[in-house]
Symmetry: C2
Subunit: 239 residues, 2 copies
């Protein structure tokens, strides 16, 4: 088998800094974790908060701390620092080769989707962001690594899309129409969801949007780990 | 313009753990850094060393510490911990949107290649790994972000390929024959270099191999940042 992960990420229109931070870390016992945080408000302040949360979580995961404990620690650190005045959402998607499972940790009111073939399941149990109070509890979902599994995680910018003109994005419906029996790459899935949101906002996203898609595919041949990053730059540097 | 980064990475034959660690971090002043370390020997011990080095460097870069200072700090930390008995190579490739440059930091005897169109330049100034002594100095190369720039960085597994049967890999020659006037994606470039090395080792790599290719391309349309990760797994989990 092969686990394929794709991310598509865009800034709020006319802002140079995204409040969303996403990073990937290797797990010391095998596998990797993708950590996504969305700091309250937008611009520099939000960026600092989401970066702090992601750094904290990644540092702990790299030391072998379990995902739930890392989320609780980041929440306590944020609460201690900001006294509950600044919050941040957090999603962790871990490919844990030690247990042979995908471990999904969520402190984010935005739901996530778990798809097995044609079956699309919306997971929207109540989940509160980090830093809101002491003892914030993450929701943990553990799933066997099996072919045809697709997981879709996103920041609330995706669900805010279209609200400005009263035509809010229906993520489940869009996902169903994109999947529609096709075997698409996770990058195509993430790109399609993001493109739909951006189009509902007339190409001027009202918020930072990050979409993360994880797919388990039948093995494609070699033992090579691959990663690609694409960073658009506008050529008008600050210096 | 768009900066595209690709990585292809394979373990030494019959080992489950790579001594190479590669991670990506966002720079607080804009852009991102790719950090690649290769710990001495192979297996678990090497992994621990390269992970320690990468974690140290990434933590400092995330705080805004400059690349050269982060490399020196990681070297001092490794030297203090291991008294010069364990060393690690380090390469940092940073897309620095503050200065509008690519900053390349090298503590690795393996050379790197900088290509501008048809011009392929081998950079092989003497460079020593981290942890060998106090006051290890990194080599820093700074290049403007311009279309058609291609940078190729790798761990020594690539140059060790084929040595076992007396037919060592010539990276420059292979790179020239792959490029050959074609406009290839960095993933195709990285995959092709790695495939050539693996083939010279009869599909049983004698060492961990990591290849990192950075390319500056003319802009391809949207403002979306993208990332994909592909992680082959063999289904025989440890638990």
């Amino acid at each position: 088998m092969e686990v394929q992960i794709a991310v598509a990420k865009i800034n709020k229109y006319a802002t140079s800094e995204s409040g969303d931070t996403l990073e990937v870390v290797e797990r010391p016992s095998g596998g990797l974790s993708v950590v996504l945080a969305d700091g309250q408000t937008s611009g520099r302040g939000a960026k600092a908060v989401s970066q702090m949360v992601v750094r904290k979580v990644i540092g702990l995961l790299a030391e072998g701390v379990r995902d739930g404990a890392a989320a609780r620690a980041a929440s306590d650190a944020l609460y201690t620092d900001k006294q509950g005045k600044v919050i941040s959402t957090l999603n962790i998607a871990s490919v844990d080769l030690y247990s042979g499972t995908i471990v999904l940790t969520r402190n984010n009111p935005s739901p996530m989707y778990i798809c097995h073939g044609d079956q699309i399941e919306r997971r929207d149990e109540e989940s509160i962001p980090l830093g809101i109070s002491r003892n914030v509890r993450p929701l943990i979902t553990e799933i066997s690594i099996e072919p045809r599994l697709i997981i879709v995680i996103y920041t609330d910018g995706l669900t805010h899309a279209g609200k400005r003109r009263g035509q809010p994005m229906d993520v489940g419906l869009t996902l169903r129409s994109i999947l529609d029996g096709q075997d698409l790459s996770p990058q195509v899935l993430a790109d399609s969801l993001l493109a739909q949101a951006v189009s509902l906002d007339d190409n001027r996203p009202a918020d930072d949007i990050s979409v993360l898609v994880l797919k388990v595919a039948a093995r494609t041949g070699d033992n090579v780990r691959r990663m690609t990053v694409r960073l658009p730059i506008d050529g008008s540097f600050r210096a």
